[in-house]
Assembly symmetry: C2
Homo-oligomer: 206 residues x 2
């Protein structure tokens, strides 16, 4: 009895089982597509918010400009967001093509590639980039007195608020990416499994 | 035909298939145990290296002491390492108990709990803690000139080197945790799958 409805039982059970599973598969594919589109949109929004974030302050005659390139972790976040947005866009196209063809992911090598890309590359990279940017943000807001790293957000409040918006958007994208990586883990590892119940209409021929 | 060798075919094929899979299962369980033990050891080593890391410098008459509590991200890393070490120790005990009983993970709810703990909590938390600590480390080594966050590692070299050792140890623990989370994803999602080939010695009874 196959999960994918193409297995060893062409009888009533398989029809019921396959039908039920096809519905689950369709919902899963739709959820995956929605999540991937969300990642693209949110990562792109985060990127735009950070790249366009700038503030100028005049201290006596000296003009000071805050921009994202002043913080290496924000540059890393912009790069990570860009990669995540493009990757998720391409994966969304693959999902739509797969849905139009009505095909189910059978190939283990493709499933491994998607799982590796989603989880090992994208999800962990996003989490790392956000954590690094958040750390810089916390130092910017609260400072590290002992190390004499001073607060900058009391001086560049607008810059910090907009940057926080960008990080929040990237966080939501990362959350969606983590959920996507669970779906791709499911799509991969179910190919290695088997149902453990004995179908009522199957017998063994020796 | 069951992946776990307890399914619908008690004949020759099932014996061969079950035997082959039992070997895979045993190897997987051993790998999981080794990885979990590595996480415990490396996370604990990282914790010790960071907690005991301290350096005193005398600048004229003023004594300056560098310690991990000066950097919030190192405190976060210590907490994350502590949680990862204890969690992995408990999971190692579960693995050993499972191996002694010779039991295989059948329960979906337990598999979900382990998967959630391994991946969603531990792996992502470790990656985030390391990224935040690394960001602080990079600022400590290179500074952020534009923000007037000065280098501190030229002054507290010994402290920084030992801290880097702690972060490296935590990184290896995190890598092992990521691999463990792949195994737990496999153990969970294979419960939802089925083999797609028709076993040669099975027929349909209508």
């Amino acid at each position: 009895m196959s999960y994918l409805g193409v297995g060893i039982s062409p009888g009533n059970v398989a029809v019921y089982h396959g039908g039920k599973m096809k519905v689950v598969d369709r919902r899963l594919r739709l959820t995956e597509l929605l999540l991937r589109c969300s990642v693209t949109a949110l990562a792109f929004l985060g990127l735009i918010l950070i790249v366009t974030d700038t503030q100028v302050k005049k201290i006596f005659t000296i003009e000071k400009r805050a921009k994202y390139t002043n913080m290496k972790s924000l540059v890393f976040l912009v790069v990570a967001n860009g990669i995540a947005a493009v990757y998720s866009l391409l994966q969304s196209v693959r999902c739509v093509m797969g849905s139009m063809k009505g095909s189910v992911l059978f190939s283990k090598s493709l499933a491994w590639a998607i799982f590796s890309g989603d989880q090992q590359a994208m999800a962990y990279m996003s989490v790392a980039a956000i954590a690094a940017a958040s750390e810089s943000g916390v130092i910017g807001i609260r400072g590290e007195e002992e190390l004499q790293w001073m607060k900058v957000c009391n001086m560049f409040g607008k810059f910090c608020n907009r940057g926080a918006g960008g990080v929040a958007s990237a966080m939501l994208a990362s959350l969606a990416m983590v959920l996507v990586s669970c779906i791709s883990a499911f799509s991969l590892f179910r190919l290695y499994g088997a149902t453990t119940q004995r179908p009522p209409n199957l017998a063994v021929v020796k």
